[in-house]
Symmetry: C2
Subunit: 531 residues, 2 copies
C-alpha cells in the first residue's frame, strides 16, 4: 500500500488546542527510592507503592511484579522507572525497569477496516507518529464484506478462526512497525477504531445478533482489555481501548471520525460522511447529533463498474474530457499502463461527462451513446478499451442517490434546512482521494465554500491516536456515542421515495449546487433558470 494512503490527516486545530497536556493510557514514572535502613525500614513494595500513589492513586501492584521489585531496586541503585496503565478502574503497575526510562513510552493506534488494517506506532511522550504499517485484513480470505464475515462466524469454530486471522494481521503489522526501533513488548497501550463487527470479531464475540432483528450487538463499549487477555502481542498488561460504537451499524470508526472532525463542539451544523463498503452519515452540532448508516456497496472502491479497481498502480485516477473534441486526458497511479478505473477516476469521469453534456442530469448518455471510451485499447495494459457504460453509471448513481436521500431525510427529521449546513467532513478514502470539484459537480459532496469541505483522511486511525494519548478525548468519544441519535433508514418508507427520486446530477434540487449550476450555464451559455 502506498505511503500517502495511510498517513492520517491531523487536524491541527483539533489536536493542539485541546491536548494541552498528554494523558495517555499508559504512563511512566521515575522513582528515586531510599534504601532501607534502621531509621527507615519501609518494605520495598510499600515504598514503591507510596511514591506511585503520590502521583496515581490508588495503584494496584500485581504479585508477579512484587517479587521483582527488591532485586531491581538493588541492582539499579534504587533508581527505577515504573510503567502504569489505566485499567478502567484505576492504575496498575505493569512494568519496572532500571534507571530513568521515562523518555521511552510507546503506544499503538489501530484502524481495523473491513478491508484494510493500519497500525501507527505512537510516541506517548508527545503524541508523534513514529511509523506506520498497513495491510489487508486477513479475514478477507473468508469473505470480502461484513455480511459474509458474519456468515463465516456462524460456522463451527468460525469466530475463533476470524479472530485468529485479524490477530495474525495485527501482530504481523506490529512486528513490522516496531522493526528495529523497539521490541513489541515495549508498547504499553493501544487504541482501536473499527466498525462494530470488526470489534466483535477481534474480541472473539459472536457477531450474529448484529445482522438479526433487533440488530443488537453484544457490546458497544467494551472498556479496557489487557492485551494478553486478547492475544495482541504487545506488553501483556497493556490496556486496549476500543472506540465506543453506538449500535450494529454505527461503529467506533464513525464515532472516532466525529471526534476528529470536532463537529460535536461547533455551533453551526456539520455533515460527516464516510462511504466505504458501508456508508455512514452523521449530522449535527454541539447540541445534537443524528446519524444513519447502510450498506453503500463498493462504488468508490472500484467494485461496481466494469473496469473498476482499487487505487493501485495502473488505476486511472484523474480524467479531463475536452468539451469540443471529446478527447480524454488521464493519469494513472504510478504512471503505469492503464488497467482500470479507481474511485477518484470514476468521480472525475462522471463529472466531466456531465459537464461536457455527454450524460444528462438524469445521468443517461445523450445522443444514443451506450458507452464512453476512457482509454483506448492501445494504451492499456490488457490491449482492450477501458470504457464506462450506462450500467456502470447507474450503479454509481445508486450509491450517490442513497447518500443524498439519507442526508435529506436526516435534515427533514431534525427540521434543519439544507442551507444551514456549514461544514462538510469527508472521512476515509471517500475523503482522502476524491477530486473535490468533481465530487461537488456530481453531488457527492455538497456545494459549500471549498474551505468548509474538510477531508479527514483516516479519521478512525487518527481518533485512535487521540484517545490513546488523551483521557479527555476518551471522555469526549464516549459523550459523542451517548449523544448520537441513530436513525433507522430501512424502517423509513420516505427513504425509498427519496431514493427513487434522487437520481439526478448533481441533485434533484439544482439550486443546492450554485457552483455546478454556474459551470453548466457557462457551457450552455444560457441561464438554467430559463429551463
Amino acid at each position: 500500500m502506498s505511503n500517502q494512503q495511510d498517513t492520517p490527516v491531523i487536524l491541527a486545530d483539533q489536536v493542539q488546542t485541546t491536548l494541552t497536556y498528554l494523558e495517555p493510557l499508559s504512563r511512566k514514572a521515575f522513582l528515586a527510592l531510599v534504601p532501607p535502613s534502621s531509621l527507615n525500614n519501609r518494605a520495598d513494595v510499600d515504598q514503591v507503592r507510596q511514591q506511585l500513589e503520590n502521583m496515581f492513586n490508588p495503584v494496584r501492584i500485581p504479585l508477579a511484579l512484587m517479587s521483582k521489585i527488591p532485586d531491581l531496586c538493588r541492582s539499579s541503585e534504587w533508581q527505577i522507572t515504573a510503567t502504569l496503565a489505566e485499567t478502567g478502574l484505576g492504575w496498575e503497575l505493569i512494568e519496572i525497569e532500571p534507571g530513568n526510562r521515562t523518555q521511552e513510552q510507546f503506544g499503538l493506534a489501530v484502524d481495523i477496516g473491513t478491508t484494510t488494517v493500519v497500525v501507527y506506532l505512537i510516541n506517548l511522550c508527545n503524541g508523534d507518529i513514529l511509523g506506520h504499517a498497513a495491510d489487508y485484513n486477513g479475514q478477507i480470505s473468508l469473505g470480502e464484506d461484513i455480511l459474509s464475515r458474519i456468515r463465516q462466524a456462524a460456522e463451527p469454530g468460525g469466530i475463533k478462526r476470524l479472530q485468529t486471522l485479524i490477530l495474525d494481521t495485527l501482530n504481523r503489522l506490529i512486528r513490522s512497525v516496531c522493526s528495529s526501533l523497539i521490541k513489541p513488548s515495549q508498547i504499553t497501550a493501544a487504541a482501536i477504531g473499527a466498525n462494530t463487527t470488526m470489534i466483535h470479531l477481534l474480541l472473539g464475540l459472536d457477531p450474529a445478533s448484529i445482522c438479526r432483528a433487533p440488530y443488537t450487538p453484544i457490546v458497544n463499549n467494551p472498556g479496557l482489555i489487557p492485551a494478553g487477555e486478547l492475544g495482541l502481542e504487545i506488553h501483556p498488561l497493556a490496556p486496549i481501548y476500543c472506540l465506543p460504537s453506538i449500535g450494529s451499524y454505527l461503529g467506533g470508526d464513525v464515532i472516532g471520525g466525529v471526534l476528529v472532525s470536532g463537529m460535536h463542539k461547533k455551533s453551526d451544523v456539520s455533515l460527516f460522511v464516510d462511504i466505504g463498503t458501508n456508508g455512514e452519515i452523521v449530522m449535527g452540532n454541539e447540541e445534537w447529533l443524528v446519524a444513519c448508516a447502510g450498506a453503500a456497496g463498493p462504488a468508490l472502491e472500484g467494485g461496481v463498474t466494469t473496469f473498476g479497481m482499487r487505487a493501485e498502480p495502473g488505476a486511472v485516477d484523474h480524467v479531463v474530457i475536452d468539451g469540443e473534441s471529446g478527447g480524454v486526458r488521464y493519469t494513472t497511479i504510478g504512471d503505469k499502463p492503464a488497467r482500470g478505473i479507481c474511485g477518484s477516476g470514476l468521480v472525475d469521469i462522471l463529472a466531466e461527462l456531465f459537464l461536457k453534456g455527454i450524460i444528462d442530469r438524469t445521468a443517461h448518455f445523450t445522443e444514443g451513446r451506450e458507452e464512453f471510451v476512457i482509454v483506448p485499447a492501445g494504451e492499456t495494459a490488457m490491449g482492450k478499451d477501458i470504457v464506462v457504460n450506462q450500467i456502470d453509471i447507474n450503479n454509481f448513481m445508486a450509491t450517490k442517490g442513497a447518500v443524498n436521500s439519507a442526508t435529506d431525510l436526516l435534515l427533514e427529521n431534525v427540521g434543519c434546512p439544507w442551507q444551514d449546513i456549514g461544514n462538510f467532513y469527508a472521512a476515509g478514502a471517500f475523503g482522502q482521494y476524491l477530486p473535490v470539484e468533481s465530487a461537488v459537480t456530481i453531488g457527492l459532496y455538497p456545494d459549500l465554500p471549498r474551505t468548509s469541505i474538510i477531508r479527514l483522511g483516516n479519521s478512525s486511525g487518527e481518533a485512535a491516536r487521540q484517545v490513546l494519548i488523551s483521557r479527555t478525548k476518551r471522555k469526549e468519544a464516549e459523550a459523542i456515542a451517548s449523544k448520537v441519535t441513530y436513525f433507522e433508514l430501512n424502517a423509513n418508507s420516505s427513504f425509498m421515495e427519496k431514493f427513487v427520486s434522487s437520481k439526478f446530477l448533481p441533485h434533484t434540487e439544482l439550486d443546492r449546487y450554485p457552483s455546478v449550476k454556474k459551470k453548466l450555464e457557462s457551457r450552455l451559455n444560457f441561464s438554467m433558470d430559463a429551463l
Copy 2:
C-alpha cells in the same frame, strides 16, 4: 485437631456494634434485564454494565465474561446473578449465573500459623461461620520455626517449594471445609491473617531480608491478589486480602488481634499479648499504639519442658496440688493415660507449686527438692514418672520474664504507669486455653479484675473473617498498621537489665499482683508486707 481448639471467640460487642451492614470483598447482585427490542436495543454487555454501575461504579467486565453474557441472558429469561469482587481499584465482574443466587455467597477466612493452619467457610450474606478445617502447616516438614523456614527459602528452589507446601495445605483444607456443601469455585473472596514470613512464603516472595539487617520485608501491605494469580483453588478471580503487617516481626496476625480486641478504639490503656512460637505485645488506646516482638520459644506449646507436649490426647491440661498432702489431682485431654504436659497444665503446675510453697518467689524448689512428680509411672502411658524439674521451670521463667520485661519497657517508654492498664487481651492458644487464675498467679497475665481479662481465641482467624465481610474493618486494620510504633527490644540495653531482674513469681513488684499476694498471705497466714 479438636473442635474447641479452632473455634474463634467472637467478641459480640466488637462485631455487632460496628458491622451495621456487610461490605464483603465479593458481592452478588440480581439483575432483571430487558430483552433487546427495536425500541430498546442496548447491547447485552452494556445493559449489564449499566445495571451494575447503578450499584457499583465503575465496574470492569473481563473479556472472558463478555462472551458468556448473551447466551446466559437468553437461557435464563434475562434474570441473572452477577458476582462482583473488589480489585483494590474498584469492582470487577467475576461470575455470572442464571436466576437469583444472591443467597449463596461464600468467602474464606484463613489463619496461617507457623505451626497450624485454620480455614473458616463464611456465609457472606450474614458473616456466619458455616464450617472450619484445621491442620498442621505443611511447611513443618522443612522446619519447625520461622528461622528454619527462612533458611530453607534460601536454598535453590526453596521459595517455590515452601509456597507449594502451604498452598497444598490450604487447598486440601478448602476441599475439606467445602466437602459436600459447595464447590470450592463458589468461594469468591478470601482474607488471611498470618505473620510476615508466612505471608511472604504464601506469596512466593523472598523472606531473606526479614531476618537480615535492617530487617525490612519485601511487602507489608500486598493489596488484593486474585486467587488464580496465587494458586489458591477457589474462584480464580476471587480477591485475596492479607491483613497488613508493619514489619518483619509484627505481622497481620497481630494487627488482626488488635482489630478484634477493639483496643484501638478504647480510651483506657489496653495490653494485648500473643505468645506462640514468637511473642508479640501491643499496648495502647485510641490515641497511641506501641508494640514489640521477639522469639518467645515454645514455652507454652510444650517445647521447653522435659515432658512438654502439644495439646493433644494424653496431655496433662489441669493440675491441682493438695497443700497438706502434696497429692496431685490432674486431668488429661481426652481422658487418655498421661503422656506429657501441655501449656495449660504447666501453668497450673507452676501456680500450684508456688501457691503451695513447693517453689519460692524466685521459682526455685524449696527444701532441696530437684523435681516434682505430677503423674506417677503407674498412671502414665509410658510407665514412667511425668515430672517437672528445676531446668523446666527455669526455661519457662525465661519466657515469662521476657513478657514481663517487654511490657515494663513499653510502659516506661510511653511514660504510662502500670496501674493505668485497664484491659488485658490474650490472643491465640496463649489466650484460649490457659487457666486464668493460674496464669495470673505466676504473673503471665496481669492481676486485673477478671472481667477485664479477655481471651480472644484465634483472633487472627477472626480478624480475617471480619475484614472479609467488612470494608470498614479493612480500613481499620490499615489504620492500626499505620498507627503502631514498633519498639526494637534487642536494640535496647535496659531490656536485658529488666529481663535479668524479672525472674520472680509473680513479678519483681509483688504489689502489682494484689490477688496473688492475698492468696499467699492466706496460705502463710500473715501479711507479706511484713517481710
